[in-house]
Structure formats: structure tokens, C-alpha cells
Symmetry: C2
Subunit: 415 residues, 2 copies
Amino acid sequence: MMKSESYITLPKGFKANGVSAGMKISDRANYNPEMPRNSYLDVGMVLSDTPCNVAGVYTKNLVKGHSLVRSIDIIESGNKVRGIIVNSKNANAAVGKVGIEDAEAVAAKAAELIDCRPSEILTASTGVIGTRLPVDKITSAIPELVSGLTSDAEGAHDSEFAMMTTDTVPKEVSATITLSEGHTITIAGQAKGSGMIHPNLATMIGIFTTDADIKAPLLKSMLKDAVKYTFNRVSVDGDTSVCDMVIVLANGESGVTIEEGSEDAFIFAEALRGLCEDIARMLASDGEGATKFVEVEVYGAKTEKDAYLIASSVAKSPLCKTAFFGMDANCGRILTAAGYSGADFDPEKIDIKLSGLLVYQDGIATDFDEEEADRLLHEHDIKVEIILKEGNCYDRMFTCDFSYKYVEINGSYRT
Amino acid sequence: MMKSESYITLPKGFKANGVSAGMKISDRANYNPEMPRNSYLDVGMVLSDTPCNVAGVYTKNLVKGHSLVRSIDIIESGNKVRGIIVNSKNANAAVGKVGIEDAEAVAAKAAELIDCRPSEILTASTGVIGTRLPVDKITSAIPELVSGLTSDAEGAHDSEFAMMTTDTVPKEVSATITLSEGHTITIAGQAKGSGMIHPNLATMIGIFTTDADIKAPLLKSMLKDAVKYTFNRVSVDGDTSVCDMVIVLANGESGVTIEEGSEDAFIFAEALRGLCEDIARMLASDGEGATKFVEVEVYGAKTEKDAYLIASSVAKSPLCKTAFFGMDANCGRILTAAGYSGADFDPEKIDIKLSGLLVYQDGIATDFDEEEADRLLHEHDIKVEIILKEGNCYDRMFTCDFSYKYVEINGSYRT
């Protein structure tokens, strides 16, 4: 990851842009010139010069937003696409049949100006549920959006800002990798996501681009593997949204083809997984109101499911998360969360480490150094290791603490 | 429920008391006389003049506190008991073998003064996990505790205050019921519980007394039924503690025997269930930092499990709970929580009502009156009804909102 230089249009043949349709500020005429220019962007686009193979993974929530449902239909058809248009402030969810029509109208307007079919433009929406998408506002902003598409960093950053909601920092990653025969290809990614985050998915919209040429089925299998232990291991608040999606657009503009089963496929998959992990960590660090990044690791579980249950239980526990916020070494809460997780283990064998400090041994609280614990808890990054000594299974979860700010943000999100 | 007159020693032949062993204030010598006298009580006792049949239900957490484990062994042996000694501030959990010995020492000291066997005195502890019980402090306070046992209201209230932790109000209930042949018996109950509350159990200690004569197996089956839709339907934060227990002590001092399968058994079971429900509502209302009481009801689910999953998912969702705190009619979050609950339903058939106001119909947000929603959300009691139209199963959950105060309380619990 090269954070300062990362943006979505680094792979060859991609352009992006972000504009304001006046949703983030209720009256665009009243726009305050002292406001950072990024903070009012609410419609973004990532577009390839040429058609792309595309793969996606989506929220498992039974309720799905209309813009997302439309995109799933397109992606799963196996047809190529040119890009994606994303809006924030409104989830376009739970409004009935007009929801699909609204997403269709947005895509159609963009397609008209780009000169492609509407079905080549994916749609994604994030924000408040149950309010109709302001289609007129968005379509009015699309000419500016499309005419400003650029491969420059600024357009890419603007497309990221346009999809952010309560995020406080942009999340952009990239990697240029050298394949077996000396060819190089580039992968880049950006994401939004801060609250309503829990597997599956990590409430988010994630867009990856690559100039490699990869067939859709291989792309899909690599994306699914990459997501499993990265985005699907982030919990901010245990809620799973209705609009989550992660897509990869592969336009082949590098001239390099990656075939299934090849060494290159392995290298690419590893790079994609690494970028997903980088973003997953950023998502947890930027969780709503977060002051801490917390990684929970479970070792020695009897089954994979047990390892997951415990990591997830600790990462979700409001009691553990408020203790991290308060920097209180109340490790009994970690033991408690493991105990009610539903996983099978012997509580008299469990060890727990807090950022390396052994706080429970064989199920008994150690006489650990409170000053040392206090020092470790004042670090931004906290690691919890839970060692069960039952078997060989491992899992982990990325999360954050639970602060006053989380309550503030979510007590008044709509207003 | 007759709140003002309810206390644990209303049934014939019970006494109670609560004293300070100096755990709630670190130095008893520095006790401030302006502090409410109840707030420093930390060891309580409920005792029957004669041996009681006893039944209990316990936390399902794999990790169990040592005082609790000792009590489970006694209760499940089927032997009669005289009463229970409870301490707050320390959970007597996860300290190894000495934990059982410490609980035994406390019970032995009380038994010596009462002149009964230690195994006739149950033990319960609640508070911080992983720190050894200050046995000397507690045993030093036991003479005062035992000599002050009384059937007066004051002793009963003190026994309740002694087991409270972050509770802000005592939870005491009672009912005098007339049975089939005109006999009357009394049931009373008290509980503590505020945080770390989620089925099973609703992190709590609950003690019920009755002067009816009921055999232990019948008492147990009535208690299990009573708990199922009451204490096991309370969620404050989704955490399940290691010390939860609810017991019923039946000493038979009324001279009235209740037989299995009789009409009286039905009447008694119904009364016990009603008292458990009253306390369950009090627990949710007094959830840590709560400013709202929220009842979530699910109608028309395909299976009982589906109904439970949805009620539980909404009641646990930090996003729903912060919206209740912010009095924001962000009902998309309720729909979202239903959608990721794991229950099977058609999102295009779901209706949602907020304190009677229809906010979603057939999965689509209604154009509800925001002012009316605002007025309803400013009430202390909020009801969420979710109507699935899939079948005939129902469930419900009692919960509260998620406030700044919850974070404050739990960010610094140990200190």
C-alpha cells in the first residue's frame, strides 16, 4: 500500500470524478466557500475507457437497496460494463418499485452522455433508507460529472469523497505488481464505510479497478476469497446494511491476461487480498466515533466456526468496546464474551493477551502489571489474542472502540 | 404489582438484611454521612426461618462465577436450603480454585451464626471479574448482617440495595394471590441488573420468595416457564454475564401446598410469570444509561425462531438503539436489523409500526407524519411492532436505548 499516491484511476484506462448534486448541502446556493470542497460531493463515478469484466460480492441482508439489486442483476448476467455511478446521502432502499426505476433513470442519463448502454453503468447508493432518491437533482449533476471525468488523482479522490457518508478519512489503496514474465499490472481500490458495519458485508461500498485482463468467473472467485478474511472480518457495530457491495472492474488495458490456475493468478489474488486487508483495517480504524483500532485474534480453536464465533463475539461486545474506549483493562469482559459466543471450549484452558500482556492464564486472571496495561491501552492499536488450546483453527476480526461520538453520530444521523 | 409496598420478606417466615463490608467505599472509615445510606451496602442476605424447597435458572455462559457454581451444585442436589448471601462489587469469577473456597468460607461464616449447615446457604456474587473476593471484609461484616435480619421492609430493601451495581433504582415486586379454596399465599421478588444483559439470562440476580409449599421439581418447571418470555427477553447490550441466576425459595409457612397439575399450580405459575415480567420491564427501563424503555414485538413469523431472531436483532442493534436515544424516526434501521437477523421472511410483505404509527407498509416506507413520530419518540415508552404476514408465530423483547451515559458507565466501570 502506498497511501499518499493511491487512487482508483492508477490502472490504465480508468477515469473518475465526483460532483455535488446538492444532497449533502440542502441548498447549493447557500454553499459556504470556506467548507472543504470535498465535503459536499455526493455523486461519484468510476469509468473505464473500454468495457470491463466485472465481479461483485454483496450484502447478505434479506433487504437489499434498489440500486444494488439493479447492479447485482447486471453483474450476475456476465455482461461487460463500463463503470459505476455512486451517490451518498440516500440509500435508495425500501421505497418500492420506483426504486429500481430511479436507479435506472440515473444510469440512463449517464449512459446517454457517455454513449453506452444503461446496462453498462452499475449503480450504488448509500445513506438514509426509506426516502426516495432525488433523481432530478442527480441527473442535473450528471453532465458536470461526466464532462469532468479524468484520470488525474483529483478526479479519483473526488469520486471517493462523493461516496463517503460518516467516514472521516478517504480509503484508497493501490499496488503495481510484477507478474511471472516481467509484465506489470496495477490494481487500485477505494471504499466508504464507517457505521452499520459487520460481516457480511462490512457495510460499505468498495470499488477496485485493474488493467489486467481477467475473465469474470476467475475475478469473482478471487474477489470472494479476498473478501472472506478481510471485509467480512470487520465489525464496527454489528449491523449489516442493505447497500453493501464490493466490485472489481478489469478492463485489460495493460495487455496482460491472467489465466485461471496460473502463477500470475496466484500473485494477483494475493495482491488483491492484501489491498482488501488494508482497506478493512482502514474501515475499522475509521469506524464511527472510533478512537482505537482493535484486532481480535483467536488461536487454537477446535473448529473454524468456534474461532469465528469468539472473534466476532468479542468484536461486537459493547462492554468490551466501551472498556477499550475507557482504556480500562477490564479483561473479564473479553473472557465473558468468549464464554457466551456459542463456541465450544474449556474455560479452564483459555489464555488471553492484551497487546502481548498475559492477562488470563488457564482461565484465571493473572496478577498483571496495571501500569503496563494502562500504557498498552493508551496506544491507538490494540491487539487481543485469545488462545484456546483446543485445536488448530484460527480466525480474527478488525474492530474499534465504542465512544460517546458513536452515540452522537447515530443519535441524529438523519438530521 | 404493588410497587410501593413490595419487598422480599412479605411472604411469611422470611427475613432479610443488607450491610456494608466496605467494598463499595474503599475505606469505610472515610464514609461520608451525607451519602445515601443505601449506596454503600454491598452484602445482603435473604433467609427463611425454616428450610425451603428451591429452584434456580442460571446463565448459559460457558464461563461461570465460582459463587454461582457452588449454588448450582446445591440447588441441583435437591436438598433444602435456608437462604442466600449476595455480594456486589466483585463477581468471584475466573480466579481459579480459590474462588469456590472463598464462596464456601462466606457461606460457612453465615451458617455458623445462623446455626445451620453451610450447604443450606446459597451464594451469589456480582461485579468485577478476575479479582479475588475480599473474604475477610465480607466475613467481618457477617455478624452485623445476621444479627440485623428482620422481616421489616427496611431489611428487605437493604438486601436489595446490597446486590445492586450500576442499577439506579431497586426492583422489588410482590403479589398476594387467592387460590381455589380461598387460601392465600404471597410471592415476592427482587433483582439487580442493569448492564451485561441479554438472554440467557438477563444478566442479573433475581431472588423470589414464597410461603407456599411447592416441591422443587414443580417449582423449577414453573420458574423455567416464567423466565422464558420475561428475563430471557431482556436485552440491554447483548452481553451475557457469568454470574446470572434467578432462584425461588418456597418455605411452606402459609400452610398451603400446591400440587403439580392442580388449578392452584396454574394460578401460582401465572402470578410468578407476571412478577417476572414486571421485573423484566424494570430491568430494561433501568438499563445502563437508559432514557427509554423499548418493547419490540414481532407478529406473523413463520417459526418461533424467526420471531425471536428478529426481535433480538432489533433489540440488540446499536444503530436502532442510538436512534431511539436521539428520538430520530430512522425506521430504515429497524427494517435493516430485521433483514440481517437470519430470519426467513419476504421483505416486500413486512409492516413496521412505531408506537402505533405505520412507518413501513409491505416493505415500503410510508409517508408518515414526522411530527407525530417525533411526539411518539419523546415518550419514555416506545413500542416497535413488526408484522411479517408469514405465519402465526410471535415473540417480543424488552430493551432500552443506547446513550452517552452507557459509554460513560462502561468506559470506566472498574475505577
